[in-house]
């Protein structure tokens, strides 16, 4: 019976296997699985920051059309005496696009690695102990949120689909009106709510996970990591879901 089932590199007994020429250290770091997890954690922090700020900013819609549209204009005029109009906004957008790109590229690479690591699956049923729904559906919740992102941009940034299925038209700069006209369509509101719940699950595991990936487990604050994850996920979901519900309930309307 053949026992040698795996080809083995020679035993060197030295601490470091000499690697070929080292790449630039960030690329070198990114080429490893643990490095990709740092990239996912850091891009995740950027995206969490955006999602939080986005949610808080949108709460302005409860103050009325004038306040909300003024906030939209403020974003375009951010740092205006220093930078020309919309430049600061575009710099942030480029940062976010880069973060999304890195997040997905790393996730894709790691998913391939993970599938290769267990090429033959368990043939009997698994009995998971602690892996929860959120942690096991990260890829799916991520894909849902990513696809939703396109709908969201097409709906409220580019306006392609904002006028579909309702009487009004997309008016550039009338943030309040566009939101109201969009959310008055019940299926669209349902889509936003479903996507935000997926985002909530993604954030619940993602926030906790990033502490582990970055190695942040100071015993003093370790117990807080779960609470922070629950807190951020809940805040985002409750805040974002309140917008379509408010429009449907007539609290926010024209």
């Amino acid at each position: 019976m053949a026992q040698a089932v795996q080809s083995r590199p020679p035993v060197t007994g030295s601490a470091v296997t000499p690697r070929k020429r080292r790449k630039f250290f960030l690329l070198d770091l990114y080429s490893t699985a643990v490095g990709k997890k740092y990239a996912m954690a850091i891009s995740g922090i950027m995206l969490i920051g955006f999602v939080l700020a986005h949610m808080i900013g949108n709460l302005k819609m409860f103050l009325g059309a004038e306040d909300f549209n003024h906030y939209g204009e403020f974003l375009r005029e951010l740092l205006v005496p220093i930078l020309p109009r919309t430049v600061a906004l575009w710099l942030m957008r480029f940062g976010l696009i880069a973060a999304v790109g890195v997040h997905i590229h790393a996730a894709y690479g790691l998913t391939i690695l993970n599938h290769q690591a267990r090429s033959v699956k368990y043939q009997g049923p698994r009995d998971y102990q602690v892996a929860n729904f959120a942690s096991r559906t990260m890829r799916w919740s991520g894909i849902i949120v990513f696809l939703f992102l396109f709908w969201h941009l097409a709906d409220l940034t580019w306006g392609w689909w904002n006028a579909v299925g309702n009487d009004g038209t997309f008016v550039r700069g009338d943030v309040y009106g566009n939101v109201v006209r969009s959310f008055e369509r019940v299926p669209v509101s349902v889509l936003y709510i479903v996507a935000n719940i997926a985002l909530g699950f993604h954030l619940f595991h993602g926030v906790w996970s990033l502490f582990q990936s970055m190695g942040w487990n100071n015993p003093r604050f370790k117990a807080w990591r779960r609470y922070i994850a629950v807190g951020i996920a809940t805040m985002i979901v409750v805040g974002n879901v309140s917008f379509p519900l408010a429009v449907l309930a007539g609290i926010v309307g024209e």
């Binding site: 795996q6 030295s14 601490a15 296997t17 990709k36 368990y122 602690v130 996970s209």
Partner: protein, 257 residues
């Protein structure tokens, strides 16, 4: 002493690395509840040999939970249903009469099946090898308190050093990652003063050799739940943080490489 009756075992049989393999059902009419899981398999093997059939191949050695040789995915859980227990210390009293028990080998690309329930875990040895040696001075045994180690640090290092290298973490991980194993092996040296000289090169080499065989950690925590020594995933965070420091420090402190 009581007995269990009419157990059905669905055991993975595979003639060799190239064979497709299949589940085969075996009946245990009567077994003592004080028998360990491996003793139950011994009894079954005796019966099979008596009938002129081939015995089931499975890994086992010390049978007291300290060597890390036994494995087995029992009812979808690494080392079976009892927490913090290796298969050899799992007893039949954890099961009920009439149960159907599914027994599978560890499944990971890095752990190819040799035969039946036996897998080749030498990928772990590759990780250990890459970690290299410690430049502690040899010779006569040093005076015990020559190198002061704070008690909590010694305790934490001992917690990590409890790892017996059984591979349950990889087997339980939905991604087939070996981060808990590598983290335990990295941490029990990196926490102690004797391990400081090679701290950064060790974590770097071990993390990178892990990539050659295993998946990546997505922080499910299944490894910690499956570990017969209940090693904490806190060590994974420690390894991640040490690896990041190693990568950054290497650029600044040329002398360390």
């Amino acid at each position: 002493m009581s007995h269990l009756e009419n157990l059905v075992l669905k055991i993975w049989r595979q003639n060799g690395p190239g064979d497709a393999g299949r589940f085969q059902s075996y009946r245990i009419d009567r077994i003592s509840d004080e028998a360990s899981f491996l003793e139950m398999l011994d009894v079954l093997n005796e019966k099979l040999i008596g009938e002129g059939l081939e015995a089931i191949t499975f890994d086992h050695d010390c049978r007291e939970g300290i060597c890390g040789t036994c494995s087995l995915m029992i009812d979808g859980r690494a080392h079976g249903p009892q927490k913090g227990t290796a298969t050899c210390q799992l007893h039949m009293r954890m099961f009920k009469s009439g149960d159907t028990i599914v027994v599978e080998p560890w499944r990971a690309t890095a752990f190819p099946i040799i035969k039946d329930l036996m897998v080749d875990r030498s990928a772990f040895d590759r990780i250990i090898e890459s970690g290299g040696f410690i430049t502690a001075s040899t010779g006569g045994a040093p005076e015990a308190n020559l190198t002061p180690v704070p008690k909590p640090v010694a305790d934490a290092a001992m917690d990590a050093a409890e790892c017996i290298g059984c591979g349950a973490c990889v087997a339980a991980c939905p991604n087939g990652a070996a981060n808990l194993f590598a983290a335990a092996k990295v941490s029990h040296l990196n926490l102690l003063p004797q391990g400081q000289a090679e701290r950064w090169s060790r974590v770097q080499a071990m993390v990178e050799s892990m990539d050659d065989y295993f998946g990546s950690c997505t922080n499910h925590g299944e490894c910690e739940a499956a570990c017969p020594k209940e090693i904490s995933i806190d060590f994974i965070a420690l390894m991640h943080s040490d690896y990041l420091k190693a990568k950054i420090k290497d650029r600044k402190l040329i002398s360390q490489q």
